[in-house]
């Protein structure tokens, strides 16, 4: 657990999470404003816009806030995990398959961040974090 809460060695997982969150936000906004999808303008559609936006912000923090302490980082990871689950459930009930797919990618990114990004040893892909630490 301590390893997971420490600063990651690389950021591929967080990057994937960031991309998925951005994709989710785009889909959620589109669903909220496009009139032909059965959910536009509903509270549920707005809810996933907000949850996706929060996920994007959190993923950005995970990626770029390299000096974040263990406590905040751990809290952020838990919140992102809950956000993914909640948004995925909402997407399922909204029958928003695109958003559901984005959440599946986000989940992969989140899991990758928990595992591969924290694996010991240098990584050629550990670029952003290393640069941020310089």
């Amino acid at each position: 657990m301590a390893g997971i809460l420490a600063a990651p060695q690389q950021n591929k997982g967080a990057l994937l999470l960031l991309v998925a969150a951005a994709l989710a936000l785009a889909i959620a906004i589109f669903n909220d404003v496009w009139s032909g999808n059965g959910i536009h303008g509903t509270a549920g559609a707005l809810l996933v816009v907000i949850s996706s936006a929060l996920m994007l912000i959190a993923a950005s923090a995970l990626l770029f806030a390299t000096r974040m302490g263990r406590g905040p980082r751990g809290t952020l990871l838990v919140l992102i995990g809950l956000d993914i689950i909640g948004t995925a459930m909402a997407a399922y009930m909204l029958e928003a398959t695109g958003l559901l797919a984005a959440m599946a990618i986000a989940l992969l990114g989140w899991l990758a961040h928990l595992t591969f990004d924290h694996a010991p040893g240098p990584s050629a892909g550990n670029t952003l974090v290393q640069r941020g630490a310089e």
């Binding site: 509903t42 509270a43 909204l94």
Partner: protein, 675 residues
């Protein structure tokens, strides 16, 4: 009169209003001549000069082309017999997956009710006739649309006041069409489209040019409110397109029978199709009773047996809806199926389906006419669906039941002054869509509301079907919300397969002493309160939902069923549609409350919108399985239409929405065809 007014509280609907009828212990009658007023009107007076018009006999397009070959949709119900059946068969269960939207029209006539214009509820069946799709809008305009491209040919504007004079929202269910048997080229108004308005006007418009027919009534407009002479408290709103048969136009109307004990009596008017001259009138209420009650009107569509010249009326309940203590005399034609001689308006027979209606169980759709093969005989039959979910299958020439109708003992009212009927008609075959007992409290809704549903139920009176309204509050299941709504069912006349959608809504009926009602409404009338002015009780009606808006009763909330009318057996029954709350779809097994009817095609497909989820669907007639669906902009609460034009079959849906289902309105007409 009708009524029904729910308000969407999300998962469930809110509700309603309208008519109530009565009769004490009146057993159903076959041929009946009770106190009704049928006035034959001298048609040589009134009206306007017809110098520029040929008064010619008419035929329906179906009569001209031949019923078995007609590929149009020329009435609200597809044909006069209300079969909602099409002979066309290009789209089949095998290729329906290739159906795609080929054109759409946005009329611009939509309101969310937040401004000065009331909310729009749009349930207009598009007609296809005269090589044109005709549809009315809730702003009371007619759009004439090219059937293959969606290009608008012309628009006619009634300039009707956009005010909720009798209904809470702006409504229309479509237009009607008449044409001369031999239209004279170059002569206007040989083909006429009719549109009604909430302010009681019927406009006659030339079907080719979109110009008003000056020879019809007063410059093309018939004001039926000029005949509103008894208890004239509100205009006779023409929201349902009239029924056209030969050279006659039969006009029913809607009002608000929850507002007053004394209301306009439900007169049906028959006028000449070209001149608007009154030919006959029909009243379901005796004149003496009409003064102190009212309505028992025909606000839904009618059907016609062209072979026998019989007009069938679904007669609604008398006013006020939920208290009959001031109308205890027999009103045998109220809440009935009534058959008239179409040419004269004379009563042939009537069968009451609810005695002394105090539930607002209006007969709310045209009976479906079909020949049934039973015991080696072919019987001219009709099927009357109902808000109670019960089906009455009758010989349409005599009114006698084909499947047994029994008088069952029902709970009695405990309200001072009321005298409820000790029995009510009940038909076990075909099986009612709704169970005879309340399906129980939804555990999910009960837990989510910390037991609110269970606590509420304990305080209510419930003794099964026909539990009367009470001062403590009664559980109504089925309720005025249905059961089967105004769309009714559709039938394949070849096989006798009858398809019908049904809602399952529990509501709470509570009478309020006049003083209590006045106290509750002294600062304005909250939603669900209905005055029944002139009666000793006001009324409060609401859906049985918890504080979250969740239905307190177990699903399903909507089904689609198919019956074999030759045997009376249920063929299949499935949850239909999906409920949506805040955009979230509930489990498919729950089904959806529905508004609007199905249609059947010769190829064995059922097309239907109707559900809360704003989807339109095709169903395999044999299996009941969904074989196609598409999203539209709002719930398609209008009956769909289908036709063939230049060798291609189209299915057209009007997606207008209705706040009974959910707060989503649109102005979309969408046509689908094979790729």
């Amino acid at each position: 009169m009708n009524c029904l007014r729910f308000r969407a509280l999300g998962v469930s609907c809110l509700l309603l209003v309208s008519g109530a009828a009565w009769s004490e212990d009146t057993p159903p009658v076959g041929t009946k001549t009770a106190a009704v007023s049928v006035a034959a009107v001298n048609s040589t007076s009134a009206g306007n000069a017809q110098s520029h018009q040929n008064l010619s006999p008419s035929s329906s397009p179906e009569q001209i082309v031949g019923a078995m070959h007609y590929d149009g949709w020329y009435t609200f119900n597809g044909n006069l017999e209300d079969q909602k059946y099409s002979q066309v068969d290009q789209i089949t269960p095998q290729n329906v997956a290739r159906l795609e939207k080929v054109w759409e029209v946005h009329t611009g006539d939509v309101s969310n009710g937040r401004g000065e214009i009331p909310l729009s509820d749009w349930s207009a069946t598009p007609l296809f006739v005269n090589d044109t799709v005709y549809v009315s809008t809730p702003f009371y305009r007619i759009f004439a649309i090219a059937p293959d491209t969606g290009k608008v040919k012309w628009i006619y504007d009634t300039h009707a006041a956009l005010k909720a004079l009798t209904q809470p929202d702006l409504k229309t269910r479509g237009v009607a069409y008449w044409q001369a048997a031999s239209p004279q080229p170059g002569t206007p108004c040989q083909k006429i489209v009719y549109i009604g308005t909430m302010d009681a006007k019927l406009h006659a418009v030339d079907a080719d040019s979109g110009k008003k027919c000056a020879g019809f009534a007063d410059g093309g407009v018939l004001d039926i409110n000029k005949w509103n002479t008894t208890n004239n408290k509100w205009p006779l709103s023409i929201l349902q397109p009239p029924t056209v048969y030969k050279d006659m136009v039969f006009i029913g109307w809607a009002g608000k029978d929850w507002a007053d004990a004394e209301a306009p009596p439900g007169t049906v008017f028959a006028v000449n199709a070209q001149t608007g001259q009154l030919k006959w009138t029909f009243d379901a209420l005796p004149p003496e009773a009409a003064k102190k009650t009212g309505t028992s009107n025909v606000w839904a569509s009618m059907s016609v047996d062209p072979e026998h010249g019989i007009l069938y009326l679904p007669v609604s309940s008398p006013s006020p809806n939920f208290f009959g203590g001031d109308r205890k005399e027999e009103l045998p034609l109220a809440t009935s199926i009534t058959a008239l001689d179409a040419d004269t308006g004379k009563l042939l027979w009537s069968r009451q389906i609810v005695h002394h209606d105090i539930w607002d169980y209006d007969t709310n759709s045209a009976p479906v006419l079909v020949d049934i093969k039973k015991d080696g005989q072919t019987i001219p039959a009709l099927v009357q669906s109902s808000k109670m979910g019960i089906f009455f299958v009758l010989n349409r020439l005599t009114g006698e039941p084909i499947y047994p109708i029994e008088e069952i003992k029902v709970p009695q009212s405990d309200v001072a002054g009321e005298q409820s009927s000790p029995t009510q008609p009940y038909a076990a075959t075909p099986a009612p869509t709704m169970p005879d007992r309340f399906p129980g409290i939804s555990k999910l809704a009960d837990i989510a509301s910390f037991g609110e549903c269970s606590r509420t139920l304990k305080g209510l009176r419930y003794d099964g079907r026909y539990t009367p309204p009470s001062l403590r509050g009664s559980l109504a299941y089925p309720s005025t919300a249905g059961g089967v709504e105004w769309g009714g069912g559709a039938v394949d006349p070849r096989s006798g397969t009858y398809v019908v959608n049904s809602s399952y809504v529990a509501q709470i009926y509570k009478l309020l002493q006049r003083n209590d009602y006045e106290e509750k409404t002294k600062n304005g009338t909250p939603k669900g309160y209905y005055p029944q002015a002139g009666a000793p009780y006001g009324f409060y009606l609401h859906n049985f939902v918890n504080f979250l808006g969740m239905p307190c009763w177990n699903p399903p909330y909507g089904t689609l069923s198919a019956y074999d009318l030759n045997s009376g057996k249920l063929l299949w029954k499935k949850p239909f549609g999906e409920i949506q709350k805040w955009g979230f779809y509930m489990p498919k097994s729950w089904g959806s409350v529905t508004i609007g009817a199905p249609l059947i095609t010769r190829s064995g497909l059922v097309f239907i919108g109707a559900s809360m989820d704003a989807r339109v669907r095709a169903i395999d007639l044999k299996s009941g399985e969904e074989v196609w669906q598409a999203l539209v902009d709002a719930p398609a609460v209008a009956n769909p239409a289908t036709y063939v034009y230049r060798g291609r079959q189209y299915v057209v849906f009007v997606a207008g929405g209705n706040t009974i289902l959910k707060p989503q309105a649109s102005d979309q007409v969408a046509a689908f065809a094979l790729k």
